[in-house]
């Protein structure tokens, strides 16, 4: 077992191997590490041989999973050794142990360069390999030219050139400019003529990277690729060494076909014909053979060819050949081929007109859903999800539900989510939809996210026809002895709302419903208790003629919870008791929930995240969630159930019209920001009492995630064109967009930019802009006259966005600094661009971001207003009545104090206005003005020149006409007074809301949906069927 001259290493490895347990191993490793450490420390003149030995030991220990935090210097120093064996170890171990930014690497950069430009080929190879593996930006700058020279040099041998190609690829990735110089397309084209297949293997990888970033520059290379395929396909000039089990380098063939998939189409008829011949031969000529390796290699090529054919959207005949092949594959027993068959069929779905043929394989695919192999099941699930439409939704969803019983835990959440989405998208009737969701909750309650049951509540609320049915179903489920808590929630909610619709049925008297729900009460958690209490209150309201016994039972429960430990539950119980004593008022307050305004399904969004990573909550998943577009939005997501009772509290208080709510401290106001936005729902269904807050919370996550089209990956959206059963106008709008403007050069935003801007003026994070390719999110922090905004540029595609440019046109009152915006946003990645503001003086001018990028051949330009508006530089402040009046009096009259009567104001209740003011950073100071219809707010304005300036605001409202009010603003700076007044005026006259999709949607002329349907997703869903 002796090793080439390194006996100590073998002995060590043997020792480790003979260790009986992990503890022994650790002791042995620690001993060795101690030994190496002492050697490195004490023996200054360690020979290269000894160093080599120790460095290998270090690598071995590192591989075993132990920390090796020393000796890196020694490894790196071996790079400078004169002899090959030592140098080799130095290079290899360095690239294993060190990362590209390690400072030691900087020290050897010259040695590395000398090796690269030196005459010794083996040294060249070692150096190129290390730089190719871990070279960073600095290497890119100092070595790129040398590496390029080697790659194209005619005197250089293939063994060096192939390494140079991949080394250059690394340097290019670190700094794309290194190959952006003119003439590279010609060079690349020459490189593709390469005879040596080793060089060609590497060059093809380099080419794929280049072409994926910029197809336009490399059209001249396209025929070369086809030539390579012809050469390999016909086995011409292929040395034996490059045939793998009789197949000419399958890896080059695969890579070449991959490169071709970056070209949108092939124009030249000769090239096209040649390529199609090659593809045809692959499609027809790949047979199943006994030799596993040959078989796999041939199928690797076949699957790549399939992908290329699909990409080229080839002639019908060829396409149907592909579908036939895939149909065969999804039915074979050999698991690898079946897996790939399913995977490729899913990809093929992107080509619209094969859907029907794929549907004919549905039964086979469903068999794979039950395969013992999770990899295959997962592919089958994805495919079924992709191929589902109105015609087969019932079958597929029922299969999914059935499978849910036996599915492994890793898949259940995804499965539940997908079933819910399909049921929603393709429901043939709404009662079926309700059935599916209730079954889902029943079978896999733990895996059903809250979004799913919120959604069913929305549908039921918005569809009167559905209500009795849903209530009946809920009642039936309650019969089950064991019930998932989510089911208790949804049943209690539905029965609270609609128990009166069942009144005449057996077992459905208020009392019976109460009893059956009450059986569950002892076992549920507080979030459910809250819902159940509301249900009881509603049952009580429908208790006609009054049943004193029931009333007493419910009251006794309320009383019990009056002293409950959870403050929200306690509050609720107290309020319900108080309400019950008000008699008729109860009916008003507990009236049925109003219909929900139109909302996009939050589920689709989740599905996309789930696609990124299906099973585990891993670090990478978390990272990817942060990177994907919804990261910003997620930060807004409050614990929904937790906040539910909080806002319920508001329900009772609001009618009293007192301003107590505003005595809550600032933070809780901000916490309620969301509630406030949702509170606007009340405008849709005007009622005396705004009961919208409970709804608001139910809807919370839906509303937040609301940006509609992000939810569907672009491909899927296209594919869904046929099945327009999209429940929302905005999505329908974007659908229409993709049909009408399928050309890449007419990219339209899929969000209402103005609306987004308005929203962001009131909050600090959210989406600023979004289209098919990019989403720009914002997260802002404000501190006195400083502002810090981070722009999140999220690429939604699987290919990079290039030529990204962001230019800011700052207004004169703002000093701004935008950090460097990268030119390329990599696929599916998100880059952050911080932006600093300094406010110089008060002004309502707005900073504009000139943003552009290139996708494919299309340049997209947009101008976006940045929400660095005047109110962001305000800081709320509370003052006492004395302080207020002292200031108020001293600032007498214009220009320091301005007054204006505003008409045509959006009607807002005082609490709503207070909320608006809070989002504008104005502190509402109750109790200063004795008139309850007036509102006093104070704030301080910060700018570089003035520092803090106190501003006082008084709004006098007219309770009999909420469309008019008088506003008075005072500050020590006339410009500030004026600008602030104008700014607040704009907000009052045109209140930005999050829920105004109904208002905005008609402005999208592309939307083919009638406005009537906007408010009613259910009606839309039903109407489309």
């Amino acid at each position: 077992m002796a090793l080439t001259g390194m006996r100590g290493l073998s002995v060590f490895i043997s020792d480790v191997r003979n260790c009986q347990n992990k503890e022994q191993e650790r002791l042995r490793v620690d001993k060795e590490l101690g030994n190496i450490r002492t050697r490195f420390k004490n023996e200054k003149a360690l020979t290269h041989y000894k160093k080599k030995k120790y460095v290998w030991k270090m690598l071995y220990i590192y591989m075993l999973g132990y920390d090796v935090d020393f000796g890196h210097m020694e490894a790196v120093s071996l790079i400078s050794a004169p002899k090959y064996p030592e140098k080799q170890v130095g290079y290899i171990v360095t690239s294993c142990l060190l990362t590209e930014n390690h400072e030691f690497l900087r020290m050897v950069i010259n040695t590395v360069r000398n090796d690269i430009i030196g005459r010794n080929e083996t040294f060249q190879c070692l150096a190129l390999t290390m730089v190719g593996n871990i070279g960073g930006k600095e290497f890119s700058e100092s070595l790129a030219t040398d590496v390029q020279k080697l790659l194209v040099s005619s005197s250089c041998r293939p063994l060096v050139r192939k390494k140079a190609a991949l080394c250059l690829l690394r340097l290019y990735r670190k700094n794309p400019d290194v190959v952006n110089i003119d003439g590279w397309s010609d060079r690349m084209s020459q490189l593709l003529d390469e005879r040596d297949l080793g060089v060609l293997t590497s060059v093809m990888s380099l080419f794929v990277a280049l072409v994926s970033n910029n197809v336009e520059a490399y059209w001249n290379c396209l025929p070369k690729c086809v030539k390579i395929l012809e050469r390999l396909g016909r086995n011409q000039d292929v040395p034996q060494e490059y045939t793998y089990h009789g197949i000419p380098s399958p890896w080059i063939q695969v890579k070449t076909m991959r490169a071709l998939q970056y070209f949108p189409t092939i124009e030249d008829p000769n090239t096209k014909r040649a390529l199609f011949e090659v593809l045809q031969r692959i499609l027809m000529g790949t047979d199943v053979v006994k030799n596993v390796n040959k078989n796999n290699a041939a199928h690797a090529i076949l699957f790549e060819a399939l992908a290329l054919v699909v990409h080229l959207d080839a002639e019908k005949e060829m396409m149907s050949q592909c579908v036939a092949l895939l149909g065969k594959f999804v039915a074979v027993r050999e698991p690898n081929i079946r897996y790939l068959g399913l995977e490729n069929m899913t990809r093929m779905l992107l080509v619209s007109d094969v859907q029907d043929i794929i549907k004919s394989h549905q039964a086979q695919i469903i068999i794979s859903l039950k395969d013992p192999d999770i990899s295959i099941r997962r592919r089958a699930l994805d495919l079924l999800y992709g191929m589902c439409d109105v015609t087969n939704a019932k079958d597929i969803v029922e299969e999914l539900l059935q499978y849910l019983n036996t599915a492994d835990f890793a898949m259940r959440e995804e499965l539940a989510l997908k079933a819910a989405i399909l049921a929603e998208k393709f429901a043939p009737d709404l009662s079926w939809y309700v059935d599916v969701i209730l079954q889902l909750i029943d079978k896999a309650g733990d895996f059903v996210s809250d979004d799913i049951w919120y959604r069913v509540v929305q549908f039921v609320t918005n569809n009167e026809d559905l209500q009795p049915y849903a209530a009946t179903k809920a009642r039936e489920y309650l019969e089950k002895p064991v019930l998932h808590e989510t089911m208790v929630k949804v049943s209690a909610y539905l029965l609270g709302e609609y128990n009166h619709l069942l009144a005449r049925r057996t077992g459905c008297t208020p009392k019976e419903i109460f009893i059956i729900i009450n059986e569950k009460l002892p076992t549920v958690t507080t979030s459910t208790v809250a819902i159940v209490l509301s249900t009881y209150a509603k049952i009580l309201m429908h208790n006609h003629p009054p049943d004193p016994e029931l009333q007493e039972q419910i009251w006794s429960i309320f009383r019990k919870y009056e002293s409950y430990i959870d403050v929200e539950i306690q509050q609720r119980a107290v309020e319900y008791i108080a309400l019950c004593n008000k008699g008729a008022a109860l009916v008003d307050v507990l009236a049925e929930m109003p219909k929900f305004p139109e909302r996009q399904s939050a589920l689709l969004k989740k599905a996309e995240v789930a696609e990124v990573d299906t099973a585990e909550q891993s670090a990478i998943r978390i990272r990817s969630q942060q990177q994907t577009s919804n990261a910003l939005v997620v930060t807004d997501q409050r614990p929904t159930e937790g906040s539910l009772p909080v806002s319920q509290l508001g329900v009772v208080r609001m009618p009293s019209g007192k301003m107590e709510a505003s005595t809550q401290d600032q933070t809780s106001f901000q916490d309620q920001g969301m509630t406030k936005e949702n509170g606007v729902i009340t405008e849709v269904v005007p009622q005396d009492v705004p009961p919208a807050d409970l709804l608001g919370d139910l809807l919370g996550p839906l509303a937040i995630n609301g940006s509609p089209a992000t939810a569907v990956p672009v491909e899927q959206r296209n594919q869904n064109l046929l099945s327009v059963v999209e429940a929302t106008p905005e999505a329908a709008g974007s659908l229409a967009l993709t049909t009408v403007d399928n050309q890449p050069n007419s990219i339209q935003p899929i969000v209402n930019i103005a609306e987004r801007f308005n929203e962001l003026c009131l909050k600090d994070s959210g989406v600023l802009y979004e289209d098919l390719h990019i989403q720009i999110g914002i997260k802002a922090e404000w501190q006195a006259h400083h502002g810090h905004i981070v722009l999140f540029l999220g690429n939604k595609n699987t290919s990079p966005l290039v030529s990204v440019q962001a230019l800011i046109l700052p207004p004169t009152h703002l000093k701004m600094e935008l950090s460097l915006v990268p030119e390329t946003v990599p696929p599916r990645a998100q880059v952050q661009c911080p932006l600093e503001f300094v406010n110089l003086r008060a002004s309502r001018d707005v900073a504009v971001l000139d943003f552009s990028y290139k996708f494919g051949t299309a340049m997209v330009y947009v101008k976006l207003r940045l929400p660095a508006v005047i109110n962001k530089f305000l800081q709320p402040i509370s003052v006492t009545a004395e302080e207020f009046f002292a200031q108020w009096k001293s600032l007498s009259g214009p220009p320091l104090k301005l007054q204006e009567v505003l008409r045509g104001v959006k009607p807002l209740s005082l609490p709503e206005m207070a909320n608006l003011f809070t989002s504008l950073h104005l502190a509402v100071n109750p109790g200063i003005d004795t008139n309850p219809n007036n509102l006093i707010a104070c704030t301080t304005f910060y700018s570089e020149s003035t520092r803090a300036t106190l501003c006082l605001i008084r709004v006098e409202t007219d309770p009999s006409d909420r469309t008019q009010l008088r506003i008075t603003i005072a500050s020590g700076d006339p410009t500030l007074t004026f600008e602030l007044k104008e700014s607040i005026k704009e907000y009052l006259v045109n209140i930005p809301t999050q829920t105004s999709s109904a208002v905005v949607a008609p402005s999208q002329p592309q939307s083919p949906v009638t406005p009537v349907a906007y408010n009613d997703p259910g009606a839309m869903l039903a109407g489309l069927l």
């Binding site: 190879c125 060494e241 990478i620």
Partner: protein, 144 residues
């Protein structure tokens, strides 16, 4: 499209060779990742396919006697091409060691590394000709 890592692990879950490309993981991340993957792949039967979806990438794996070869690849990688690349790696080692076994790789870790280094660079395949891959090692053997 690319190779993220190459892992050789025996039946007992002991790592015999590990080479990561592109992203550098901390020791803890690496240990966690290897643990997860090994648990996932080693539990699979011969009747199951050679591809395992893990986090946001795939593992293409193959078993040779007591040793598992696990290659982490991006989701869009051609799975079968990687599967056969594993075999090519094994064939190459076989040519060098003759009837390669786990112990060969264990005690000649540096050679396994040299070979892999000749085959993969920064996650891309550099060379598939066995004689070219083995050339540097043979040169060195001759020299010593």
């Amino acid at each position: 499209m690319g190779i993220r890592f190459v892992l050789l692990v025996n039946k007992q879950g002991q790592t015999r060779l590990a080479q990561y490309y592109a992203e550098h993981l901390t020791l803890d991340e690496r240990r966690a990742l290897e643990g997860e993957i090994v648990r996932k792949c080693l539990a699979r039967t011969d009747q199951q396919c050679s591809f395992v979806e893990h986090r946001n990438y795939k593992i293409v794996y193959r078993r040779y006697a007591s040793l598992f070869f696990l290659v982490g690849v991006d989701n869009d990688e051609n799975e079968l091409a990687i599967l056969e690349f594993i075999h090519l790696f094994v064939e190459t080692m076989d040519r060098h060691f003759g009837n390669v076994c786990e112990l060969d790789i264990m005690f000649h870790l540096e050679k396994a590394h040299f070979m892999l280094e000749e085959m993969v660079m920064n996650g891309c395949i550099v060379e598939t000709s066995k004689s070219n891959i083995l050339m540097p090692i043979q040169l060195m053997d001759k020299a010593s």
